[in-house]
């Protein structure tokens, strides 16, 4: 017989009622619901934390790069085909400085013949890995770094033995503050420490270096005015063009012996690498999630067995098999979605703690706000498939016999 055989109206359950019924089902078994949602919360929390910590570290690095600028280029002598080091001509610095779109340029010159010690009593082999460079007095400006203490080389430094320490060099020499009467033993004489640099993010080799003026280096250590490295600030819109022209400008007779690089590229690559989630941790989160899913499925199966009376009653009240299945499916999905939201809070909290302890910006990717509850919902629906089917298959009379 067709539907017309039943003139009395259909069995209906609007979506809002479905959610209300499912919520009521969860509310009547709070503790159990909370415990089974916890499994999902831990799994999703672990994943959100992994994503959030990576994103925070990445945001931190990108912020540093932004602060330092991406328009810094470095020029270094390359190697010839025999593997010997090339030499940049002494004219390279003014040539580069006069290029179009170049804001500023500064060179450092390696001082191979001298080492720096706290006192002459320190054995000469204990250099602490500290290099000595001669540098132009605008080095901090070009690098975008600042002084932790004191000031950088100036006109006075051309005539008197004065030295500025890189951050790591100061650390090795155990000098925290630069003041007028603090001396270090450099080469064969005492130099006054007039300043300490903050860490140079774009080129960390400068941190374990001390700087003296080129004039003093030429006079005391017979340094040739051939730059070991030139730092160039170019116009942001012309960085690539300047980079292409730099070799020929720095050494017109041997442009092949000049290497040009952009330090921010390396940092951006590092930032991108930090953005990649740690696969192992994500895997652990996935395992926790799987265990949570099985836990929910398990609890739902037990729930179906315990609630046979309720299922039978609902069938008697006019619920179709589909109504019963969707009720259990919705309960399971809601349970896991709540777990997902709790997991989001857990993961965000973990990220916040991590970011706060390392003074990094707190970042949880926006997609996680949607993905965490949605993932929970989908996982719950999957976990609920079997219990829901089981509940729907239950014979109503058998269920009422409980």
């Amino acid at each position: 017989m067709s539907t017309a055989a039943v003139p009395v109206g259909r069995a209906r359950l609007p979506l809002t009622e479905l959610f209300g019924t499912a919520l009521q089902g969860l509310r009547s078994r709070r503790l159990r619901a909370a415990l089974s949602a916890l499994g999902i919360a831990i799994g999703i929390g672990a994943m959100v934390a992994v994503v959030g910590v990576s994103a925070s570290a990445q945001a931190n690095l990108l912020a540093e790069i932004d602060a330092l600028g991406t328009n810094l280029l470095t020029v270094t002598p390359g190697q010839n085909f025999l593997g010997n080091n090339e030499v940049l001509p002494d004219t390279s610095v003014p040539s580069v400085d006069h290029m179009q779109d170049v804001h500023s340029a500064v060179a450092v010159y390696q001082v191979n013949t001298a080492n720096v010690y706290r006192t002459p009593a320190v054995p000469s082999a204990q250099t602490g890995g500290i290099g000595v460079d001669a540098a132009g007095d605008n080095l901090p400006q070009v690098l975008g770094s600042s002084m932790a203490s004191g000031h950088f080389l100036d006109a006075v430094s051309d005539r008197f033995p004065e030295v500025v320490l890189g951050a790591e060099a100061a650390n090795v020499l155990q000098i925290e503050h630069a003041h007028g009467d603090l001396l270090v033993f450099l080469g064969n004489s005492w130099f006054t420490v007039i300043g300490i640099l903050k860490p140079a993010v774009l080129d960390s080799t400068l941190d374990s270096t001390v700087f003296i003026s080129l004039r003093v280096a030429e006079r005391d250590f017979q340094v040739q005015p051939n730059p070991s490295e030139i730092y160039v600030r170019a116009d942001l819109s012309a960085v690539n063009r300047v980079a292409n022209l730099l070799p020929a400008t720095a050494d017109p007779q041997n442009s092949g012996g000049v290497d040009v690089s952009r330090p921010s590229d390396a940092l951006e690559a590092r930032a991108a690498a930090k953005g990649q989630f740690t696969t192992l941790l994500l895997g652990l989160g996935a395992v926790a999630l799987l265990v949570g899913t099985i836990g929910i499925a398990n609890i739902m199966v037990i729930g179906v067995l315990e609630r046979r009376g309720e299922i039978g009653l609902r069938r008697a009240l006019g619920a179709t098999r589909r109504h019963i299945a969707s009720q259990f499916l919705t309960e399971s999905a809601l349970l896991a979605a709540i777990g997902g939201i709790a997991g989001l809070a857990l993961g965000a909290g973990a990220t916040e703690v991590y970011a706060a302890t390392r003074s990094q910006p707190f970042v949880v990717p926006l997609y996680a706000l949607v993905a965490a509850p949605a993932a929970g919902f989908v996982i719950g629906a999957l976990a609920g498939l079997y219990p829901a089917a089981k509940a729907a298959r239950l014979s109503p009379t058998e269920a009422l016999r409980v």
Binding site: P7, V8, A11, R27, S28, R315, L317, A319, T397
Partner: protein
């Protein structure tokens, strides 16, 4: 009009157990019928077939003018939602919600809006004399009161047919008497009532009594 018609209904369970062996029963609209018989005589099976919770193995079943044999699960659910009210021996009330919500939830699958369901539930609770107990949880009610909530749930949607399976089985005789009186009173509302009982005294209060044994109707008396 015939509310229920069973024609040569046979119900065989797995393992070759016959619960019903060819039952012919017709119940008119507004009739009040008591079904008596020993355990295992097929009373409950007949009631669940009348309530479309189960289909017969053989024979014709017609409920509220609809043929059950060819109807789909959805159609039968619709029939139960609108036209059949059940009352069980063990009440089957939900413990976590109030009496009013229990009754209102009884109309969940009719598609009536929540406000309407609560209004009808309130009226039904008043009808069974529990207007002062609407906010109580089932555990806060006596056995007789719980069964009255269950009756309110069965009648709130004004079904054509009310089916009661030993509604007094879990009650003392005084409460049981009250419940039976209440169910008799429903006749004034025009509902058809089929009630299973094993107490002869209760059966005698019904105008029509069907006695069953071994899955067959032994006697069908009217007074």
């Amino acid at each position: 009009m015939t509310a229920l018609r069973l024609g040569q209904v046979v119900k065989e369970f797995r393992g070759g157990v016959f619960a019903l062996r060819g039952v012919d029963v017709a119940v008119e609209q507004g009739e009040q019928v008591a079904v008596v018989g020993p355990s295992g005589s097929g009373k409950t099976t007949m009631l669940t077939i009348m309530g479309t919770l189960e289909r017969p193995s053989q024979g014709e079943v017609e409920v509220a003018g609809c043929s059950v044999n060819q109807a789909s699960d959805r159609e039968l659910a619709g029939l139960r939602a609108h036209q059949v009210g059940f009352v069980f021996q063990t009440f089957h009330l939900q413990e976590s919600i109030s009496a009013l919500d229990n009754v209102a939830n009884g109309m969940l699958y009719t598609g009536a809006p929540a406000r309407e369901r609560r209004r009808l539930a309130q009226a039904a609770l008043e009808r069974v004399g529990l207007a002062h107990r609407t906010t109580h949880r089932p555990s806060q009610l006596s056995g007789g009161e719980r069964q009255r909530v269950a009756i309110a749930r069965a009648i709130a949607k004004r079904p054509l047919i009310v089916l009661a399976d030993e509604p007094t089985g879990n009650l003392d005789s005084t409460s049981g008497r009250e419940i039976v009186d209440l169910l008799h009173g429903l006749a004034q509302d025009g509902a058809t009532l089929v009630l299973i009982t094993h107490e002869q005294e209760i059966a005698d209060s019904f105008p029509r009594r069907i006695t069953m044994r071994d899955g067959e109707v032994m006697s069908d008396e009217r007074t």
